[in-house]
């Protein structure tokens, strides 16, 4: 009873964990813009924090530097089911300007963890980020369901 009530509440409240795996920070600033009163992310029931253990959606930015390869996998395993990853910006998709010849970035992110949605742009507009989270998260949570013990 309590569990199903929790599920109903959780379906309209998405917890987002933001990870920067070595980018220019531009995408993170766009996420901050989302948090601001102008876009007001929380009216959609989205709450951004940096705890993977209670994250419904993992937002990955950055081009995956060497130090982040293992840590990214570790964070992914810590997230509860269903694990939904949104790759934010061009860095996690192709490595963008950091993916130069002789560079040491390990993009794309999809090589390490499965990615559910991609938002291209450098950086993407806040409304695009919001649309991506909203298009993926509620449906995916409902479809896969929370892990029942």
């Amino acid at each position: 009873m309590v569990r199903s009530l929790k599920d109903i509440i959780r379906s309209s409240s998405i917890h987002v964990c933001l990870i920067n795996t070595g980018g220019c920070n531009g995408c993170d600033i766009e996420v901050v813009a989302l948090l601001s009163p102008r876009y007001d992310l929380e009216q959609y029931g989205i709450y951004v924090h940096n705890n993977p253990r209670e994250a419904d959606v993992i937002l990955v930015t950055g081009a995956v530097t060497e130090q982040w390869v293992e840590k990214l996998r570790r964070i992914y395993t810590k997230a509860p089911e269903p694990k939904i990853v949104v790759a934010l910006g061009n860095c996690p998709l192709t490595g963008d300007v950091f993916n130069q010849e002789g560079g040491s970035v390990y993009a794309p992110v999809s090589d390490f963890i499965p990615v559910a949605a991609e938002v291209s742009g450098c950086p993407p507009r806040p409304s695009e980020i919001l649309a991506a989270i909203l298009s993926v998260a509620p449906g995916a949570i409902a479809a896969r369901g929370r892990e029942k013990k």
Partner: protein, 344 residues
Amino acid sequence: MSSVIWYLYEFARKSWAESFAGAKTNPEIMETPDRFRDFPQVIPENCIACGACTAACPAPKAIKLVRSEDNSHEEGITYPVINTRGCIRCGFCAEVCPTDPKALLCGENHLIREEFTILPVEKTFTIDDYLCIRCRKCMNTCPVEGAIFEEDNKIIIDKAKCISCGECLKTCPVKGAVKGIYVFNVQEQKQIIQLVVNTLEKRIEEEEENIKQLEGGEVFKVDLPIDGLVEAARNILDNDDLILDIIQKMTDRLKMRIITWDHGKCNDCRLCVKDCPSGAITYTKEGGVQRNADKCLRCSVCYQTCPFGVVGYYVARFLLDEPQLEGGVIRITVKASQLPQGAG
């Protein structure tokens, strides 16, 4: 008290309660504004396959030139393809695209329009930041509001507003801080500069024997009346102000290397011919190695190359005494300590 009542009245209204309970972002905020520079738009028909866009692109995977398949009666066309997963929407590709109309379009803010004044003026004015003492006298005398402004502790002339009246140049207490630059007759100006340089060089060469007598630390001085120079310059361009301006600017800042050429020592090795950056040195079987004084940059590379001491140079400085065309004299100073090693 009245304000408290006003607040309570405000909270009691239905519209306030509605907006409090159903707070939503204004949908206009979520829309992309027109000024937003989105991914570049490709028009394949205009592309000439020059590759400028790929060279300008800062992201390695953003842009690729592809060629469509040939068919029976036509070759396939080449055009750029934008990978939106790599493109950073900087618009550099659209900026460098040389075709008209462009094969790549990306926002309006990358159409470069040079600033200029629409008045037909023959002089533009700039401030040399290195010499400017920031007294702001030019700002105060300038008749156009906002034509001279201060930014980042620098005094700057706005070329789009300047009417080229020259008031700033007259009030400026520092010589050379405000520069008036003639923008017309550039070719003639070059010729006059060439003429002045060559005349000065000839004058010094005439005194070569005397200069060689100098001992270390001594200074050799020689004067050159500019009457003949002015007469020749007037044949090139009949504008006394411009001639005086050129001569004055040259004598103020010129530290000329006077190249000497001792043909007797030359062994025709032709090392200098290849090294000369402006191609001023040529070789013919009959005439041997020759230097064209009009082309010469006076960089002294030949002096450094020559193994036989054929080439030498003096460093000379100049001063225009009495800055006027009638009766003006250029005073030339050559220091003995700067005499070339190969010339003796």
